[in-house]
C-alpha cells in the first residue's frame, strides 16, 4: 500500500506563511510572559484598565466570522454559489464588527494619552493588539476579494483552492486572537 500524503486545505504556501506568522506571534507571546515575570504587579494593575467586555464581543465576532467562512467553504464545495456568497458576506460583516470595536478601544487609549512608551504592559498590549488588528484588516481584504469573486461565479466544487487558502488564513487570525484574549485581558 502506498502512503498518500494528505496536504492541508488551500495552497501549500499559505501554510508556510501561517507558520511564519505564528512564529512571530509566538515570540511576542513568549516575550510578554517572560517580561511579566519581573513586572507582575504592573501587568495586573494595567490589565484591569482594559475593556474585557469589548474583547468578549470581539472574540464572539471573530469566532462567528470563522464559522461563517466555513459555511461558505462547505457551500461552495456543494456548488451552492449564492449561499457561499451570503455566508462570506456575513463573515466580512463580523470582521468589520471586530474592527469597529477595536478601533473604538484604540481611540479610548489615544484619548487617555496612552502610547507604546507609556509602560511595559501597554507596550506589549498595544504592539500585540495592533499587529493583530492589521492582520484582521488584511484578512478582511482577502475575504472581500473572495466574496466579490464568488458573486461573479468564479468558484465551484472543482475550483475552490483560493477560497480554502483565504479561509485558512482567516482561521489563523482567529486562532491568534483566541490566545491573545485570555493572555492579555484575563490572566
Amino acid at each position: 500500500m502506498t502512503k498518500v500524503t494528505r496536504y492541508p486545505p488551500g495552497e501549500i504556501i499559505i501554510w508556510l506563511f501561517i507558520m511564519a506568522e505564528l512564529l512571530v506571534f509566538g515570540l511576542f507571546f513568549a516575550a510578554y510572559a517572560i517580561t511579566r515575570i519581573d513586572n507582575i504587579e504592573l501587568f495586573e494593575l494595567y490589565q484591569q484598565n482594559l475593556d474585557t467586555t469589548a474583547a468578549l464581543y470581539n472574540t464572539i465576532a471573530l469566532l462567528s466570522s470563522s464559522y461563517f467562512v466555513i459555511r461558505s467553504v462547505i457551500a461552495i464545495k456543494a456548488d451552492e454559489q449564492k449561499n457561499a456568497y451570503r455566508w462570506m458576506l456575513l463573515a466580512v460583516v463580523m470582521g468589520l464588527v471586530f474592527i469597529v470595536i477595536k478601533t473604538d478601544e484604540f481611540a479610548h487609549h489615544i484619548d487617555n494619552g496612552i502610547t507604546l512608551s507609556t509602560n511595559t504592559f501597554y507596550m506589549f498590549y498595544l504592539s500585540l493588539a495592533f499587529f493583530h488588528y492589521l492582520h484582521v484588516i488584511l484578512g478582511l481584504v482577502v475575504l472581500g476579494v473572495l466574496a466579490r469573486n464568488m458573486n461573479k461565479g468564479m468558484y465551484s466544487s472543482k475550483e475552490n483552492s483560493s477560497v480554502e487558502t483565504g479561509a485558512s488564513y482567516w482561521h489563523m487570525v482567529d486562532l491568534v486572537w483566541l490566545i491573545l484574549f485570555p493572555l492579555v485581558y484575563v490572566m
Binding site: I13, A20, L23, L27, F28, A31, S117, M123, F124, S127
Partner: protein, 463 residues
C-alpha cells in the same frame, strides 16, 4: 547578445571593477593602520581612508547595478534600450562625480571640502556612508533619475517580465530612500533614525530586490529552467525580504535614543531576516540541479551559487548572531559588527555584481556565450581566493570582536579602556591584514582572467 544597445553596459562594468580595486587598496591601507597606528599619518588619516573605502564600495556597486540593468533590461524586454546616448552621458557624469569626490577626500581636509562645497547651505555631510558633498548628492539624484527614466521607458515599450519589474521596483526604492540623505536635523536622535531609512532600507530592503532579480536572471540564462518556476521563487523571496526587513529596521533603533519597544519589534523581525537569504540558497541550488542544459560559462554559475551561500552566511548567520537586543547590548558597535558588514556586503552585493559581469562580459567582448576554458579557470581561482580570504577576514574580525566585547564590555568594573583592548587583540588584526592581502591577490587574479586566453576558442558545452 541580442541587442546592440546592451553594449553600454561594458563601460559601467569596467568602471565598477576599477573602483573595486581602489576600494580594496584602501581596505588594505586601513587594515595596516589598525596595527601600525601612524601608517601614512597624517597624509591619509584613518577616517579619510575609510571614507574612500566605503564610498568606493557603494559607487562601484551602483555602477555594477546600472551596468547590469543596461545589459539585462533590453534582453528581458526584448527591445533596444530607450536611449543608449543618455546611458553613455550619465556614465561619464557619474564617473566624474565619483572621481572628483574621492580626490576631494584625499587632497583637502574634510572640513575644507565642506567649506568649498558650501555644506552650510544644506548640511548633509559628515554622516557615515553619506559623506559626499551635498552638491554630489544632488548629482547622484540626477543621474539616478535619468537612469530610471531610461530603464523605465525601455521596460514600458517592451515585454514586461517579472524580473524586469522587480528590478525596477528595487531601483525606484533605491532612489526614493536615498532622498532621506538630505534630511539632517540638529536633533541627533532624529538624524540617526532617518539615516537608517537610507542605509537599512537599502541594504536590507530594496537592494535585496535588485539582488533577487539579477540572481534570477543569471539562473534563467544559465540553467534554462522554466521562467514560471523562477519567477515564483523570486516573488516569494523578495516578499520575505521586505516582510522581515521593513520592521527589521528596528534592530538599529535599540540604543540611539529611540523608545524601548524597538528592542522587541527589532529583535523579533530581524531574527527572521535570514529566511529570505536561506530561501535564496535553496533556490539557487535547486535551479542548478534542475537545469535543462549545461551552460559553457561555468564561472558565472559558480559566482551565482557562491553569492547565494555567502549572502546567507554573511547577512543571515552573521547578522542573526548579534541582532537580538540582549546580545546586541554588548556587541553593538564592536568588531563583530565589522565582521558582519564585510561578509554580508561581499556575499550579497559584490558577488552578485561579479556574477552578472562574469555572465555578460564574454558576450560584450564578442563571444557567443562564454570565455575560453583557460580564462574561466583563472576566474574560478580568483573566486576561491577572494571568497576564502573573505571568510578568514570575517573569522578574524569575529574573534577580535568576541575578545573586545568580553574585555571592554562584560567585565564589570574591571572592564578595560578601548585602546588597551585594541592592543590586546592586535594579533587578530595582523591576521586580518594578511587575509586582506590575499583578497587583493585574488582580485588581481580576477582582473588577469580578462586578459588570459583571449586568443583561445570558447569553452564548449559539456556533453
Amino acid at each position: 547578445m541580442k541587442y546592440t544597445s546592451q553594449m553600454v553596459a561594458k563601460p559601467y562594468f569596467i568602471a565598477a571593477i576599477a573602483l573595486f580595486v581602489g576600494q580594496i587598496l584602501f581596505g588594505v591601507i586601513m587594515g595596516m593602520q589598525y596595527v601600525v597606528g601612524d601608517f601614512l599619518f597624517p597624509e591619509i588619516p584613518f577616517n579619510v581612508a575609510r571614507m574612500v573605502h566605503t564610498n568606493l564600495l557603494i559607487v562601484w556597486l551602483l555602477f555594477g547595478f546600472m551596468g547590469a540593468a543596461y545589459y539585462m533590461v533590453p534582453d528581458e524586454a526584448e527591445t533596444e534600450l530607450h536611449s543608449p546616448l543618455l546611458a553613455k552621458v550619465m556614465f561619464w557624469i557619474f564617473l566624474a562625480a565619483g572621481v572628483v569626490t574621492i580626490l576631494g577626500y584625499l587632497l583637502v581636509p574634510y572640513a575644507t571640502l565642506a567649506e568649498i562645497t558650501m555644506n552650510d547651505l544644506l548640511p548633509t555631510m559628515g554622516r557615515e556612508f553619506l559623506e559626499q558633498p551635498t552638491i554630489i548628492k544632488i548629482g547622484i539624484v540626477v543621474v539616478a533619475l535619468a537612469f530610471l527614466f531610461n530603464i523605465g521607458m525601455t521596460i514600458l515599450k517592451g515585454r514586461k517580465t517579472v524580473i524586469n519589474l522587480v528590478l525596477m521596483i528595487g531601483l525606484v526604492g533605491l532612489a526614493v530612500f536615498f532622498l532621506f540623505a538630505f534630511y539632517n536635523p540638529d536633533n541627533i536622535v532624529l538624524d540617526k533614525m532617518f539615516w537608517w531609512f537610507v542605509v537599512h532600507l537599502w541594504v536590507e530592503g530594496v537592494w535585496e530586490l535588485i539582488l533577487g532579480s539579477l540572481l534570477a536572471y543569471v539562473l534563467i540564462k544559465t540553467t534554462g529552467v522554466d521562467r514560471e518556476v523562477i519567477e515564483k521563487w523570486l516573488y516569494v523571496i523578495i516578499a520575505m525580504a521586505l516582510i522581515t526587513g521593513l520592521i527589521g529596521t528596528g534592530h538599529h533603533f535599540f540604543w540611539i535614543g529611540t523608545p524601548g519597544y524597538w528592542q522587541w519589534w527589532g529583535s523579533i523581525f530581524s531574527a527572521l531576516e535570514p529566511i529570505p537569504f536561506f530561501m535564496m540558497t535553496i533556490f539557487a541550488f535547486n535551479m542548478v540541479n534542475k537545469r535543462r542544459r549545461q551552460h559553457p560559462n561555468k564561472a558565472a554559475v559558480l559566482w551565482a551559487l557562491g553569492c547565494s551561500v555567502m549572502a546567507f552566511l554573511g547577512a543571515g548567520v552573521w547578522g542573526f548572531m548579534h541582532t537580538l537586543s540582549f546580545v546586541n547590548y554588548y556587541t553593538h558597535g564592536s568588531q563583530i559588527t565589522a565582521a558582519h558588514g564585510h561578509m554580508a556586503f561581499y556575499g550579497a552585493y559584490v558577488m552578485i555584481v561579479l556574477a552578472i559581469i562574469s555572465y555578460a562580459m564574454p558576450m560584450l567582448n564578442g563571444r557567443k556565450a562564454a570565455n575560453s576554458m583557460k580564462a574561466q579557470i583563472v576566474e574560478m581561482w580568483s573566486f576561491w581566493l577572494m571568497t576564502i580570504s573573505m571568510v578568514f577576514i570575517t573569522l578574524f574580525l569575529t574573534a577580535a570582536g568576541i575578545l573586545q566585547v568580553y574585555l571592554q564590555r562584560m567585565n564589570g568594573d574591571a572592564s578595560l579602556p578601548f585602546m588597551v583592548v585594541q592592543d590586546k587583540i592586535e594579533i587578530f588584526y595582523w591576521m586580518r591584514e594578511g587575509a586582506g592581502i590575499i583578497f587583493l591577490i585574488g582580485l588581481i587574479v580576477y582582473i588577469a582572467s580578462f586578459f588570459v586566453g583571449r586568443d583561445q576558442p570558447e569553452a564548449e558545452m559539456p556533453k
